[in-house]
Amino acid sequence: MSAATSKDAPGVRVLSFSNKLSRWDLKISPYLYISPFFIMFAIVGLFPIAYTAVISFMDWDLVRNSGEFIGFDQYIWILQQPHFWTALRNTFSIFLLSTVPQLILAIFIAAMLDRNIRGKTFWRMGVLLPFVVAPVAVGLIFNVVFADNFGLVNGMLTDLGLDGIPWHKDPFWSHIAIATMVNYRWTGYNTLILLAAMQAVNREYYEAATVDGAGPLRQFTSITLPSLKPTLIFVIITSTIGGLQIFDEPRVFDQFGRGGAGQQWLTITLYLYDIGWGQWNFGRAAALAWILFIIILLIGLINLLITRTLVRDEGSRGIEKPRRLKKKKELAR
């Protein structure tokens, strides 16, 4: 410690009390600052995760609030349920129907917002508007759009002399309806993230590409998309984590909240709720929670691999940043 002192303060120094206090302050303070977060986090974040693992290997008794160790039985039980596989299929179907169109739309809208438009703030706020509406409220609003008999869509279809769409009877159409609710709420949010990434692209590339005779489409696929890669990976991973947990919208899609009479839109989290707080079987609910977590991890990894190969990495181009470009940007403002 004395060596460190002499390095910091050359010359003769006696380690006074206040000096000692200050060293102690320097050492201990970081831990003091992170402790409120970590203490709370350990109690309400880490402990439950670990304990879920413990409970998932138990037959949990609700009355005594304790369990008996039974190994992998709960996992085996879950994997043997046809409802689980239906829920898995529905979750994936809703996830794909929401993520894929949502990302394409978001890239497209972001490209529009990235142009030199008037009223930037207005349009940006406009796309974000649905973000402040609660998912439950979005679900209830879209229920009158997708109601089987007099909903907005089916009403207009009947006016045109067409048959209404079986929004609740048919799994596929119920997934479309629920995915639409998800898309409504999240497209604008992802648009803004992608827009920020687009604005970070060095504008000189576009100038060079224009000089080389590349059209807008070519510029988009060869410059914009590759530059978006890290952001796209981020957006895809966050929507995977969120999308596979979907609960709110399917829960309010009808007044019973059980995922439909024939499990048309039963999702994994709805099923988890039903096992935990409908059948009151906590061991099985805990096992299902872990299965969901493992699925999310797997899909996250697969996504990462796919995105890495699909979107080419052209990062080496982006290292040089001439100073005059910065000036130009400042002038443009």
């Binding site: 302050d25 992170i34 609660a134 109601a147 949010y189 935990g276 805990a286």
Partner: protein, 301 residues
């Protein structure tokens, strides 16, 4: 000391960069004024964002028949429907509104406080195990909420807290995202020299944090507050599990509105409008900050 050794190198590289021949181009290639189609597309996007809200007001201001009649303009029943929501005994609208306001506020305050403190330590103070702890916090952001609900429910029923609003506040008091967000922001917002200067002047660690860190953190803290508030206000899964219909939050109350056998959608949607108005007000005043918050977070994320 380290800066002096670096100076010659950096000045060298600064010289080499502009040595390339400068091409002068004044045409704004991407700066072309966008045309009719861009604005039309944006208008379509805007209408799709706003129409569902408008439509819920149209239905919410009608009566039980308006779903079938599909009027395009609002009718005059909104106040009646809103009163029906407020007086509905199954829904408990006023307690729900109050619960939503104060739980979201407390959660956002706590998250901002714990995240600013921890973010300051991770971003600007060097300590043993710091980087590893931060990586661990970031990794936990991938953990779904579902993984914690069973033990939390057991814990709160042991404490006798089920049905209490505290059961939704306490688990939300910290946020891994918040710590990550504040760390990222403070790392680039505060130059290390400033902290060193404060230390040289004899400021204690807490004083440095208060006079340098907190002041610099304010913009990011305001955004974190907004996002946490909106997130807490809209949260449904855990409140739905642990709260009951006597003491709900707004989303839980909304879900109760339609869980009847005969659903009058004009009343349900009047409830939706009522529950959305507070956040719409927030959006009008702070929407700009939300936009810039998302865009700022994206560049770093």
């Amino acid at each position: 000391m380290s800066t002096t050794t670096l100076t010659p190198e950096s000045s060298e590289s600064a010289e080499t960069t502009p040595a390339r021949p400068l091409r002068r181009r004044t045409t704004h290639i991407r700066g072309n004024r966008p045309g009719f189609w861009t604005y039309t597309t944006l208008a379509v996007v805007f209408i799709s964002a706003a129409f569902p809200l408008y439509w819920s007001f149209v239905i919410g201001s009608g009566d039980a028949n308006s779903l079938r009649e599909r009027p395009w303009w609002p009718s005059g029943n909104f106040i009646d429907n809103a009163l029906a929501v407020m007086s509905n005994e199954a829904v408990n609208f006023w307690p729900a509104l109050w619960n939503s306001i104060y739980s979201s506020f407390l959660i956002a305050m706590a998250v901002v406080t714990t995240s600013t403190l921890a973010g300051w330590a991770f971003a600007k103070l060097r300590f043993h195990g710091g980087p590893a702890l931060l990586a661990f916090v970031v990794a936990t952001m991938a953990v779904p909420q579902q993984l914690g609900v069973v033990p939390l429910y057991i814990l709160f029923s042991e404490l006798g807290w089920t049905g209490q609003i505290g059961a939704i506040i306490v688990p939300a008091l910290t946020s891994a995202f918040g710590v990550f967000w504040m760390t990222q922001y403070l790392r680039q917002a505060v130059p290390d020299e400033l902290i060193e200067a404060a230390r040289v002047d004899g400021a204690s660690m807490i004083r440095t944090f208060w006079t340098v860190g907190v002041v610099a953190a304010r913009p990011a803290a305001a955004m974190l507050f907004l996002f946490t508030f909106v997130g807490a206000w809209n949260n449904f899964f855990w409140p739905f599990i642990v709260l009951d219909r006597q003491n709900p939050t707004l989303p839980v109350a909304l879900s109760l509105l339609q869980s009847n056998y005969f659903v009058d959608y004009s009343i349900v949607l009047a409830g939706v409008v009522l529950a959305t108005i507070p956040l719409l007000l927030l959006f009008i005043f702070a929407g700009k900050q939300l936009v810039s918050g998302i865009m700022a977070g994206a560049v770093k994320g």
